[in-house]
């Protein structure tokens, strides 16, 4: 996305095998998301009590975080990114949207086919987390809202999973007559690379950068999914997913990339701080900053090992900033 942009000049032989990425990474990832969200919706339908839903909530959210870096294709075409998960949310859009539905006891929760029209902030995992981990004033309405969110997630995931194979076909026929979406195989490879580099940037700038804030002003409540204590888990899951993606994109240059990922994973695993509350503690803040620097090292290794050989450099205009 932002700084992962492209110059056209260096059309060197590329190693990224689009077919492998699709078959080994993207399609299984979206299939798993569809399965886990269906289980979640079924469980919520059977019993909407928060404590009975926690494990299926975690399993489904894990599946989402493990594939959410693939933002191009159906997710973008159907504009579902924010309705799957509304974060960062500095304006508390999620809290406001849920409060509005609850205070009005909006009957839209009884209409699965129109629930997708409510604010995106009330539809995704971030909304469901509030329902399960925050006290609810109206238990009956909370039950219906929980079921509606879970059913909506399952519906969206199913739509994405269904839309992926035809989109994959467009990527695999890049450059052929009649394919106006991808002008060349290189464009398809760049698109995949952008999701790798953007995912790393999001990890560095948002998932780590937001709670870290500054040394003088750490912001633990800006950590993603702190209510369910999933903040660190998202970082570990995303690192693992991006490492798998990187491994399918290059044959040659994997050693330094793998080493950088291993270093970051090791730092993350050693934190033992699920909600990243430690950003407020000077010693722990330092350790989380070291993890952030390790993610920066992964970004550099990925640029050197994959981006540069693909002829991809930072954007001429994106970096100009005027």
């Amino acid at each position: 996305m932002r700084f992962a942009l492209i110059l056209p000049f260096l059309a060197l032989p590329a190693h990224a095998d689009v077919q492998t990425v699709i078959n080994d990474h993207i399609l299984p990832g979206y299939a798993r998301l569809a399965d886990e969200t269906t289980e979640l919706a079924t469980a919520a339908q059977a019993n909407c009590a928060p404590d009975t839903l926690i494990s299926s909530f975690h399993a489904a959210y894990d599946a989402w975080i493990s594939i959410s870096h693939i933002q191009f294709g159906p997710l973008e075409d159907q504009a579902l990114t924010l309705s799957m998960s509304f974060w960062p949310d500095p304006k508390n859009s999620t809290g406001k949207a849920l409060a509005r539905l609850t205070s009005e006891a909006d009957p839209i929760v009884e209409e699965p086919e129109t629930f997708g029209d409510v604010s995106a902030a009330a539809q995704g995992f971030t909304a469901l987390e509030r329902m399960l981990f925050e006290p609810q004033p109206d238990a009956d309405y909370a039950c219906q809202l929980t079921q509606a969110i879970a059913a909506g997630l399952a519906q969206k995931a199913d739509d994405l999973n269904t839309a992926w194979p035809p989109f994959a076909e467009l990527m695999l026929t890049a450059g052929e007559d009649g394919n106006s979406r991808f002008q060349s195989e290189l464009e398809a490879q760049r698109t995949i690379y952008t999701s790798l580099s953007t995912g790393l940037e999001f990890l560095h700038d948002q998932r780590l950068g937001r709670p870290l804030g500054t040394y003088d002003r750490p912001r633990p409540r800006r950590a993603e999914a702190w209510r369910s204590e999933r903040s660190l888990r998202h970082i570990e899951l995303q690192l693992a997913a991006l490492e798998r993606l990187a491994a399918t994109m290059t044959d040659n240059n994997l050693v330094p990339i793998s080493a950088a990922f291993a270093e970051a994973q090791g730092r993350a695993d050693a934190l033992n701080d699920p909600a990243l509350a430690g950003v407020a503690d000077p010693a722990q803040h330092f350790k989380i900053e070291v993890l952030q620097q390790a993610v920066r090292a992964v970004q550099v290794a990925v640029i050197d090992g994959i981006g540069t050989p693909l002829g991809i450099t930072a954007g001429f205009n994106a970096l100009d900033g005027d």
Partner: protein, 356 residues
């Protein structure tokens, strides 16, 4: 019959004051600064189809160019905080003059000619005070500086000739000083605005960014034939708190925010690179950091979203479409509700397309 010597002398002086029109240099509809594969900087003229009508070398990276309304002459203005501008004869590629800011000033990368092409106006920083100024240069006197007026704000960025001959200035509101590069010195108190002047520098209208979103830096503007100005902003706060980054101005002292959805805003890093008013009630905006371009209708409703890597340059074409360029050398056109790929050059197009 003139002597051979006098004839040659005549040619020489003619080459210093070009009289060829834009039709004589391949009928470009837009100018863009660009970089070629070997890292050399250029000024190129593009046709409606995105073909290159002409290209001339530039000594340094350009930002935007001011196009003379009739004569095939352009002024390529140095990027902020540059202090020079190059007057280019687009028929020969010659740089026929270098304009330098007065001491204590720098340019912001943009400029505009008056309707009749006799005057050039350039947004400038008065470095000592940090106040914006508009420099006035007389083309017929060899781009002699003949005056200036206040921009009515800080950080004037793009200047634009309106259909009624007036000038619109986007005051970005951000105070910078060359000693600290592009470091922003007044984020807490910045107050961006759109100011409209007659060519004598008299302030005719003034539309301030509302207090609640005073971090929304107005940078780029484009005018429709009916005088509506589309405005592109760069948000200086948390990008996930950004308000709408596009607004429409209809001459009544207010900026009407366009209706941008959260999905769009969440991808832009708070940054719009260019805007264009390009058809009846149609407006476009680009975000190179998001790799996205957008289309809006007359009411400011977002009606189209288009993906293009490092997209930035936008410009209306006479056929009612919008030419779109990006940093990967692609030229697209926004036609109806579609973004159509026209052609690809082995160039990186720089930030802005200037309509001719």
């Amino acid at each position: 019959m003139p002597s051979r010597r006098a004839f040659l002398a005549g040619l020489t002086s003619a080459s210093l004051t070009p009289t060829l029109g834009w039709a004589d240099v391949g009928n470009p509809v837009a100018l863009s600064a660009a970089m070629d594969q070997s890292g050399r900087y250029l000024l190129v003229g593009l046709t409606t189809q995105g073909d290159i009508a002409f290209q001339v070398p530039l000594p340094a990276r350009g930002h935007a160019a001011a196009a003379h309304p009739y004569v095939a002459e352009a002024v390529a203005i140095a990027r902020r905080p540059g202090t020079f501008a190059k007057v280019v004869d687009c028929s020969t590629g010659d740089i026929i003059r270098t304009i330098r800011t007065p001491t204590g000033r720098h340019f912001y990368g943009h400029g505009a000619f008056s309707d009749d092409g006799t005057l050039l106006f350039t947004p400038e920083n008065d470095i000592a005070s940090g106040q914006g100024r508009i420099g006035i240069w007389d083309r017929s006197a060899g781009y002699k500086r003949i005056g200036e007026f206040t921009s009515a704000g800080i950080g004037p960025h793009e200047i634009l000739r309106l259909p009624n001959g007036a000038l619109a200035v986007a005051n970005g509101g951000i105070h910078t000083h060359p000693a600290t590069g592009r470091t922003k010195l007044n984020i807490d108190t910045m107050r961006p605005n759109l100011a409209v002047f007659d060519t004598d520098g008299e302030l005719k209208d003034f539309a301030e960014v509302p207090d609640a979103i005073h971090h929304n830096s107005l940078r780029h503007i484009s005018a429709a034939p009916d005088g509506t100005v589309v405005c592109g902003f760069q948000w200086q706060g948390d990008p996930f708190e950004a308000p709408s980054l596009v607004a429409l101005y209809n001459g009544n002292g207010t900026l009407k925010p366009a209706d941008m959805d959260d999905t769009a805003l969440y991808q832009l890093d708070g940054y719009i690179g260019s805007v264009s008013a390009f058809g009846p009630g149609r407006y476009a905006a680009s975000s190179p950091r998001g790799g996205l371009a957008f289309q809006f209708d007359a009411s400011g409703q977002q009606i189209g979203t288009y993906r293009a890597h490092d997209v930035c340059g936008l410009c209306a074409t006479p056929d009612g479409s919008c030419l779109v360029t990006d940093g990967t050398g692609q030229v697209h056109a926004l036609v109806g509700d579609r973004l159509i790929h026209r052609t690809t050059h082995r160039l990186a197009f720089d930030n802005h397309l200037t309509a001719i």
